[in-house]
Amino acid sequence: MNTIIIAGVGGQGVLTASDLLSDVLLDAGYSVKKSEVHGMSQRGGDVIATIKYGDEVFSPLPAIKNTDYIIAFEKLEGLRNINFLKDGGAMIVNDFVWEPLPVASGAVEYPEDVEDNLRKYSSDLTLIPATDIATELGNIRTTNVLLVGVLASKMDIDKEIWINVIKRKVPPKSIDLNLTAFEKGYCFKT
């Protein structure tokens, strides 16, 4: 039984990415359970989705130091969930800063050592400027599919399955753009 956590900020496409991932795992023949937690308001709070998969899954919730993969859509959100990561688990982090309100309003500083801590507490870290790449590709909203592409390169699931699910899930007019974003993530080398 394996666990994947997707974490980010409300509005970044975390839940969409987790739906896509659940479909891929179902198509790959696994049992899947998914849970979501989002803050009180519609936007701006932290969001986390957990997907558990395997032959038989009981609890839909993650456990500390027992998560195989974490995808973080924002650096601080990666660090916020790092205690869930298993020894040897993979951490995929969007090299992107979204200041939380206490930082933006000047009450506290955005920590300077986020990256250092991400390295310190994960042995397999991929830091990718996904938002920048997605913006260059022409749509910032493909950031999530790009990050899913990085995960796909680390998992032992047939690439065709990923591509078919993307084709099925995204709006028809943005299929090509999303497949390009997926490929960028899939082929990313640090």
């Binding site: 998914k34 849970s35 009180m40 519609q42 936007r43 009981f58 609890s59 939380p100 206490p102 309003s105």
Partner: protein
Amino acid sequence: MKRELLSGNEAIARGAYEAGITFASAYPGTPSTEILENVVRYKEDIHCQWGSNEKTAFEEAMGATFTGARVLVAMKHVGLNVAADPLFSSSYLGAEGGFIIVSADDPGMHSSQNEQDNRNYAIAAKIPVLEPSDSQEAKDFVVEGIKISEKFNTPVMLRSSTRVSHSRSAVETGERETPPEIHYEKDFQKTMLLPVIARKKHIIVEERQKKIKEFSDTFKYNYIVEGKTRIGIIASGIAFQNGREVFKDDWFLKVAMPYPFPEELYKKFAEKVDKIYVLEENDPIMENFARLITPDKEIIGKDFFPLTGEMTEDVILETLGKKDLTPEFDINSIPKRPPSLCPGCPHTATFHNLNLQKVTVTGDIGCYTLGGLPPLNAMDTTIDMGASITAMLGMEKSMEKAGKKLKQAAVIGDSTFFHSGITGLLDLIYNGSKGTVIILDNSITAMTGHQDNPGTGKTLMGDDAPVVDILKLVKDGLGIEHSFEIDGYDVKGIRALLREELKREKLSVIVVKRVCALLFKKPNWSPTIVDPEKCIKCNLCLKLGCPAITSKDDKAFIVSSLCTGCSVCIQVCPHDAMHHSDEDGMHIKDTSLVDFFKGGK
């Protein structure tokens, strides 16, 4: 037979369809909201509607049971407090056509003011309660619940929880059962709870509970999972799934119906084991039944496991001393990301002014409760739905008696005002309040994700409905002379009006009107920009708590991708350093006050 990955709430909706339910009602509340939002997919077969509150929704469902319909009513756990009055009556009245009451509890308080365990209500009202542990059971228990309800002529509670309602797992869907015939024949012995009738009904209820208790022993969803040890686990709901991750070789008594508790089945289970752990979220319901049945057995429950929060795999392991949860990295050392009012939120200007004018604000439940957090800091109290108005009256009269006075206002949203604010306002009128009531009318039930209400002009099923005009209601209907309507983006207007009304020695109502910023699509907003020459970094704009405003190079800076051009910060800036950018496009403020559905809901 089809397998789909459904959330617990989607599965409950599917269950309503398959069970042949023809009437469903609810008031939105996390984590229950999506149930009715999904029942509406079956609106050809099921009449579904939002009530103004949980009590009205519940009573409407009861009305439908009088016509023989199979019905479902859904609410969050605290919603059942509001509907507790009809709940107790419904137990006596029974349900010919099957009656499911969904209570979505929130252990861990992800989005609630408390974490009460509503299985206690089922026991108090003497109705059976079913606890699903995944989406498949969530669907099946609606179908089974309707059967139990009809067999024993009783309402049945379905207790979901945040983790069941908001997690997804595979569900095998089935066909819809044929609903019973809708009919009505007058028989007041069945439908009127006069004392003379209710006395007879109470006896029937007690007899009924004995029969359901026998049934609980044979109910197939209460079952024993054989183990290899002499340790047994009694578990229900999501705690069962979490417990299976921990106790891999032990016996389980999987309880779907914690009340009435399956006594004979439990006895069989207890014979197989020497030591019993009870895994249930919040209160020791099953534990207490087990202790009564086998007082000499070693039972480990809430004297050991926490009464508060969720019963997760980690919590179980830590309590057992099998896992150290001391984090390697201290996440309290990094900034939190609290939820905040959105960019362009029409509530911001009001809270900014309340904060500046140092008003004592009794608050309410909605997105706007976030106005109590820094940097707005403009709320003093939150109790429950509607309490902003009534708590203000209590404070006012108590101070008045002591010869003192506070500068006071009550803040409540449109949906909450319809829910239970109107009756409180009657109390203010009746008891001669001199307070100020601010109704933040964003013309939608926003916090739970935009549900329609009596002020939006649409029903749950998408039909047109009359729009209740709040200003007319309070001014012409209730006769409150000093009633006003003002635009939520008019910072200076709100400031002046507040100053005037807070001074006034008479009751006044200010309807701050402006639709929720999230209801507009953003085709081409032209954002506000900061003139760095004029900005002296006084930080006044940052005190709005707008997520689009931050600072850069020691000047205020606006994140253009977030900004809606609402103009609130432009009005707040004392140095004329902010202005609309000249790019083509529109500002959210340019759109009309209420004509938003065309704007793109």
